[in-house]
């Protein structure tokens, strides 16, 4: 009898194919697995929390420091911009045509107006002539007022007065800010900038800070940049190590599960869900812990300006980056060893631990 052919036929008739269990079953097993080794899971998660908290706190403090360092400069820039507008306006007013020219320019209008006024005066006068004496006086004052509005010199003076006032106010602010900046440079506390800042200026700068490029790493000092990159490395090693360990100590379990008929892909699925769950929760906790600790520390050092110049956008970006780092690292660091173990022959996987 030709054995290979018989084998092929038998393979088709007698040996079935193991079906892939649905995701819900994998989720069920993974969640159970986290629950039964709760404390081990907590330890793994705590290393994720620590790593992400460290990363987040370094990034947060770097972003806050960068924001504090650049805030006075941004405010001065804003004041300078306002001054420039005022100066342009004043220049425009001063460089305007002399009164005669203006009168000539508007001669037509003025003449028409004068004509209308004269008509009205005439009408009034005619009325007055037949009206009482008090009425006449009243109308005379009104005539005077109407005549006054026709004078362009007066409105120019009003505008000039207003602009001069505005300029004095802004120059005063600028002087105060320059003094503060000087103090900053000398190394005094940042608190005073806050006290010296007029409310309006603070508002504009905060709005400006919100629109700033999300690449907060660019705003950091070289030291902060270096720290941020180091934190990323430490976080990387911490998470990869924790996840490798958890998978490593379950190689035997993986081998056993294969003996019991688990498909490689199903084992990988279980580990994917487990590590994603641990990574997600751990990362969330880590971000909150790192953010809170870092902000509290900054607040103790710098006081209220930390919140006045809180780099909200940058913090959100840093948080999102930390979340991606945490989640992706925990999943990858678990999946690769789990996949390798799942692909091994069961005996090899079971032997490794011994």
């Amino acid at each position: 009898m030709s054995q290979p052919q018989a084998d092929a036929r038998n393979a088709q008739t007698r040996i079935g194919k193991q079906v892939m269990l649905p995701w819900s079953k994998a989720v069920e097993i993974a969640m159970k697995s986290i629950k039964v080794r709760f404390w081990r899971s907590m330890i793994t998660m705590s290393s994720i929390i620590l790593a992400i908290a460290f990363l987040m706190s370094i990034w947060t403090s770097a972003a806050v420091t960068a924001s504090l360092a650049s805030a006075p400069q941004r405010r001065i820039d804003a004041v300078k911009e306002e001054l420039r507008i005022v100066r342009d306006a004043i220049a425009a007013v001063q460089g305007a045509r002399p009164r005669a020219d203006v009168e000539q320019l508007y001669a037509g209008d003025v003449a028409a107006a004068r004509e209308r006024t004269n008509d009205s005066i005439r009408d009034h006068r005619e009325a007055l002539e037949t009206a009482l004496g008090e009425e006449k006086a009243k109308l005379n004052t009104e005539i005077a007022r109407l005549e006054a509005t026709l004078d362009p010199a007066k409105s120019l003076e009003l505008l000039r007065d207003y602009l001069a006032d505005e300029r004095r106010g802004l120059e005063k602010t600028k002087g105060e800010l320059d003094a503060t900046l000087q103090q900053e440079r000398v190394g005094s506390e940042a608190e005073e900038t806050d006290a010296a800042a007029p409310e309006g200026a603070a508002k504009t700068t905060r709005a400006a800070a919100g629109g700033i490029t999300p690449d907060f790493l660019r705003q950091m000092s070289p030291t902060d940049k270096w720290l941020a990159i180091l934190a990323l490395l430490v976080c990387f090693v911490g998470i990869v190590n924790a996840m490798f360990m958890t998978v490593q100590e379950r190689f035997r379990e993986i081998g056993t599960m294969k003996c019991l008929g688990a498909l490689d892909a199903f084992i990988v699925k279980i580990f994917l869900i487990e590590s994603a769950a641990l990574g997600f929760v751990g990362t969330l906790f880590g971000i909150s812990v790192g953010l809170i600790l870092s902000v509290v520390r900054q607040w103790l050092v710098y006081g209220r300006p930390v919140f006045t110049y809180f780099p909200l956008v940058n913090i959100v970006v840093a948080g999102a980056m930390a979340a991606v780092v945490g989640l992706v690292l925990s999943i990858l660091a678990a999946i690769f060893p789990a996949r390798n173990a799942a692909r091994m022959e069961p005996v090899e996987a079971m032997r490794i631990e011994e």
Binding site: A11, K17, K258, C259, L260, G261, A262, L263, E345
Partner: protein
Amino acid sequence: MQQNIVRTRDVTKTYRMGKVEVHALRGVSLEVRAGEYISIMGPSGSGKSTLFNMVGGLDKPTGGKVYIEEVDVAQLDAYELAWLRCRKIGYIFQTFNIIPVMTALENVTLPMVFAGLTTDEARDKGVELLGRVGLGDRLSHKPFELSGGQQQRVAVARAMANDPSLILADEPTGNLDIKTGTEIIELLKQLNKERGVTIISATHDHKMLSASDRIVWIRDGKVDRIEERGDIKIEVGTIEGES
């Protein structure tokens, strides 16, 4: 029809330990009929565990063929192999290999879950199986709360989970004392008789001999001799020193 449930042909296995090649198996040909109770005997390092792994599809031979129910194991894809391990073969190990974080019942139901049974079906059958091996009152115990003998009973129940036609036991009594070891052997024998399950057991425990239909002696990676039960009657009842 007398059928070979397991057949090996010139199976060889070579491990590489650094630069040295270790020949664990040097061409083993063996036929096991359905319903038999076979013991593979031999000293440590003789290759009996390696043979056990080959027969169970847990490892790939370097050369030769392994047929289970006349199907070449090497020809199976991952899905068919998983199906085979899940439904055709039950495994029992020297180190029990029950999953430490799961209860006795969860360990027994795991293969049924893999086979696609619903949670309820699996639980009912798991309870029944644990009752059969005498652990009906230990369902929700964790392995560390069970003695070695009880853990091995859990493993036996787990091996029976999907009603396999073949149970492979690798030194099932190796980590047990004489009394519990004997109980496990009796349990296996009982399953063999009542359910007609074929049992292949790698061992160097001489208590196994009396239960076996045939004994395959392995030495230096080769079949040294095969004895029928009748040939070894003399040894029955002899109490050997526990290995």
